[in-house]
């Protein structure tokens, strides 16, 4: 334990400067990879960056991906505040998709969208929370480590969904495991559709009203974690389980609450993908968002504002990556996955790698500033 890594740094260094340094490092290494295959890395970076923002289509796609990452990032963050590392966002979102699908398949012939969509979302949240509840219960009352169980539950979810998708819900003659297409009432409006109502012309993109739900979730998580007694209990357990017990807080209950909330937040992915875009249950619709959420939460320092920022960054990486594959065919999609992986590696797994030297440099400047003030 070096003292430098423990030293207090001002918040802007911890939550602003460090993620940026991490990102720059990741891009440098990615640039090196690009250089090796003979593409000008500056061109590649420019295409990637512009590809994420250059017009309303690109921005819409960036936000569409970011919406998923906000949900999964929040899910990871809430569990993390309770001291739990929820690796199972992927599986929870996946099973949540099943909940949304079942509710809508049952009811889409009878109900209007205004009732159907909230019901679908609620079913998704219940299923997502339920899928998180089992590992939470095992952790709270049986001591099974939640990291292990949530990872396992991702696999179980994947197998379960393949079974349900291919053997129970698949319409006859369809190739891929999936459900039938939802009725029109169950389609969450797209942003471009709403814009059209307002007389604005926007290109058709998958960006849908889930983004509003994501924003609501951010506000909710912020209030819940930092402004309510339940959030207080969650943070107490996460930061100091013994102190929480001393205070009369039941860690078991907190684990259950935090994980169920985590699963319910991850269910937002089902809203965005299933109700918002695909309009039917598809195999692997979560597409790794659950795992990206871990990096998003780490980079966003488990705070809703940070999570929104890092989710948009990762959304931009996904959208920009697709552009890059369009523009420079020699950069294959596997390389783009590798580049995204580098960003996750540097900003997630190695998030605190730079802290010691940043602390030293900061201390150096800080002393100078203090001396300058003194004289």
């Amino acid at each position: 334990m070096s003292a430098a890594s423990q030293a207090a740094l001002p918040r802007w260094v911890d939550i602003g400067l460090m993620p940026i340094v991490n990102l720059i490092q990741a891009l440098l290494v990615a640039g090196l990879v690009v250089l090796i295959i003979g593409v000008n890395p500056i061109d590649a970076m420019r295409i990637m960056a512009w590809g994420a923002v250059y017009d309303s289509v690109a921005i819409s796609y960036t936000l569409y991906y970011a919406t998923d990452f906000v949900f999964t990032g929040l899910a990871v963050a809430v569990a993390f505040h309770a001291g739990l590392f929820n690796i199972g966002g992927e599986g929870q979102a996946y099973v949540a998709g099943l909940g949304a699908t079942l509710a809508i398949l049952l009811l889409d012939a009878y109900l209007p969208g205004i009732l159907l969509i909230p019901l679908g979302l609620m079913a998704a949240m219940v299923f997502g929370a339920g899928w998180a509840f089992i590992p939470a219960y095992l952790q709270a009352y049986r001591g099974s480590h939640i990291v292990i169980t949530t990872i396992m539950f991702n696999f179980i979810a994947a197998s379960l969904m393949v079974y349900i998708g291919s053997d129970l819900l698949r319409p006859p003659g369809d190739m891929l495991p999936s459900s039938r297409e939802f009725g029109d009432a169950a389609h969450l409006p797209h942003v471009h559709e709403l814009a059209a109502l307002l007389g604005l012309k926007m290109p058709s993109t998958p960006l849908n009203l889930s983004i509003l739900w994501a924003a609501a979730c951010c506000v909710f998580v912020w209030i819940f974690i930092w402004r309510t007694r339940w959030g207080y209990a969650i943070r107490a357990v996460g930061l100091s389980p013994k102190a929480a017990v001393y205070a009369g807080i039941s860690p078991q209950r907190v684990i259950l609450i935090a994980m169920c909330l985590s699963g319910a937040l991850a269910a937002g992915v089902a809203l965005n993908q299933i109700i918002g875009y695909h309009h039917r249950l598809l195999l692997d619709f979560v597409a790794g968002a659950g795992f990206t959420g871990i990096a998003v939460a780490l980079m966003g320092r488990n705070h809703p504002i940070g999570i929104v920022l890092s989710a948009v960054l990762f959304g931009a990486l996904y959208q920009g990556g697709a552009e890059l594959a369009f523009e420079i065919p020699t950069i294959t999609r596997d390389m783009i996955v590798a580049m995204q992986g580098l960003v996750i590696l540097f900003s997630g797994a190695l998030a605190y790698m730079n802290r010691p030297w940043i602390a030293r440099v900061y201390a150096m400047f800080n002393r100078r500033a203090i001396l300058a003030e003194a004289t």
């Binding site: 960056a49 006859p172 190739m175 597409a287 999609r333």
Partner: protein
Amino acid sequence: MKTLMQAAFAAGAFCLAASAALAEPAVVYDAGGKFDKSFNEAAYNGIEKFKKETGSNYLEFEVQADAQREQAFRKMAQRGADPIIGIGFSQESAIKKVAPEFPDIRFVIIDSVVDLPNVQSIVFKEQEGSYLVGVLAALASKTGKVGFVGGMDIPLISRFQCGYSQGAKAANPNVDVLANMTGTTPAAWNDPTRGAELAKGQFDRGVDVVFAAAGGTGTGVYQAAKDAGKLAIGVDSNQNHLQPGTMLTSMLKRVDVAVYETAKAAKESTWKPGVTVLGLAEGGVDWALDEHNKTLITDDMKAKVEAAKADIISGKVKVHDYMSDNSCPI
């Protein structure tokens, strides 16, 4: 500051400028990737052939996530690519969505049917090609047991299996057909390790000829056959060269021809929308004979398989299509 921003914007706009009206074809590959040594690669070979012959360039994209499909087609359309060829049935819903937005652009889907006025759907009678390699497998087998390794467990692959079984039974009514599917997710298209395991399992049960209709998973099957001294049958592309000497033949699904033909037709303005079914008669499916497997195919075998082919083309033999009723008579 402002000029700097403008310069940066110009630079960004430059490299992303939608160069309109290319009139070049575009190919959107499926999740397997264009170098899967099988289905997607066949499409790649077709469009490369077109490029070589006409000198015309083309655009391409490999799909990574489902959400990208629609984006890819729309992007190609905005670039003015024509025709836009979607490889694989997974592209169906994306083409359904995008094609109506660009009525002047011609779309092609392979392996599925989209009923729109500017879409050409190309499907293959895989059962016919599979029938032929089934005949060969039964003739080549000394144990009377032939194997089938499918990729993902979907009706399309059952169509391969069903045709194969019919062919094998036709050549030798006593033949046993052992079949396994690699998996139920798209990962099953690219799992050579599992493919090798399944093949070995079949060999242990006496199989000595195995047909893999499993995309990239097939390479594991072929390797296992070579290691065990058994015979394997390739799929989609001519895969005889992968393990020369133990590849009995390949069931050709001429995706390359289909891609080449549709691109060429579009260029020559003979392109038509609607459903195109390619069977033995159209040369869309076939069996492969080349220098890598000619020692394995005796004159007798060749005569019998050519006879079967002629019978199918003439309509004398009718091969049952699994997907017509989701069941197989055998």
